[in-house]
């Protein structure tokens, strides 16, 4: 019978496309960062589908934050480990 509301993947691609002018004007190094953010959001696409938010981009933004926070935590742990190592060496 065919879906009426586009699938979450289609919505995601649409949002990605709507950023294309923005992306083009970015410096290459910033483009890379943007691509990584989008790639992070894509990892949670099934959860975003289940969420059925009326404005899915809001969910995608939270998904990006989530991955960013995971990275922050990983780095924090790493810093902590290195600091302890330093202390032990001193």
């Amino acid at each position: 019978m065919g879906r009426t509301v586009p699938s979450i993947t289609q919505v995601f691609m649409h949002e990605e496309q709507s950023l294309s002018r923005f992306r083009r004007a970015l410096r290459r190094s910033d483009q890379l960062a943007l691509d990584e953010l989008l790639s992070n959001a894509r990892q949670h696409i099934a959860a975003a589908a289940y969420a059925t938010h009326v404005l899915p981009m809001e969910t995608f933004l939270v998904a990006m934050l989530l991955e960013e926070h995971k990275e922050v935590r990983r780095l924090r742990d790493e810093v902590e480990r290195l600091r302890q190592q330093c202390n032990a060496n001193n």
């Binding site: 019978m1 065919g2 879906r3 009426t4 509301v5 586009p6 919505v11 649409h14 496309q17 709507s18 294309s20 002018r21 992306r23 083009r24 290459r28 483009q31 890379l32 691509d35 990584e36 790639s39 009326v54 404005l55 899915p56």
Partner: protein, 203 residues
């Protein structure tokens, strides 16, 4: 945005036509109407993509959940269903939007005389509805491979109180022109349980 839309819809049958059944305009109209009160939608061609409607409502600083809750819709996948739905629908004072009305009538699994018979009934039903409240119908032309179904479009056009043509540029058409640089991300490295593998090249 609302310069795009009529200030006040009259109680008559307004026909909007476009290559993609003027869906973009219809969705904007649905958004605009839903911020003012209830609206009713019959979707004959899988056109009611609710996301742009929500975005449009949000742009007007209105709560999309509230407004989307005011739109009541039914989808029809065959012309029999279009007819059955219109028969069941009670008469109401608020506007009715019909998306891509002829899509199911253009479907060649129902023969043309039968499609015509049903469309005649549907058009009569729409005339009755339009006496009480605005009725906006969107449509497109039949595909070239079923050109003989053009007669259905003519039937609909003859019943319309006013007519509007939408030149539709779909978002994807714009994207196709937009230049883009390829992604810069490297290959994904394996998942958590992947063993680290170091490669070196010689020579």
């Amino acid at each position: 945005m609302n310069t795009l839309l009529p200030a006040q819809l009259p109680n008559q049958l307004l026909l909007v036509m476009g290559e993609h059944a003027a869906s973009h305009w219809m969705l904007e109209l649905a958004a605009w109407l839903s911020m003012q009160g209830p609206a009713r939608v019959l979707d004959g061609g899988n056109r009611f993509n609710a996301y742009p409607v929500a975005q449009s409502i949000r742009r007007q600083h209105f709560d999309p959940r509230v407004a989307l809750g005011r739109i009541r819709l039914s989808r029809a996948f065959t012309c029999y269903q279009v007819h059955a739905l219109l028969t069941e629908w009670p008469a109401v004072q608020h506007p009715t939007l019909i998306f891509d009305l002829l899509a199911t009538f253009y479907d060649e699994s129902v023969n043309l005389p039968e499609s015509q018979r049903l469309l005649r009934k549907v058009l009569w039903q729409l005339q009755q509805l339009s006496k009480l409240a605005p009725v906006v119908v969107s449509t497109r032309m039949p595909a070239t491979i079923c050109a003989e179904r053009m007669v259905l479009f003519e039937m609909l056009k003859a019943q319309a109180g006013s007519f509007r043509l939408e030149l539709e540029v779909q978002p994807q058409d714009v994207e196709a022109i937009a230049p883009s640089q390829p992604t810069l991300l490297p290959f994904l490295e394996g998942g958590a349980a992947t063993k680290s593998i170091v490669r070196r090249k010689y020579g």
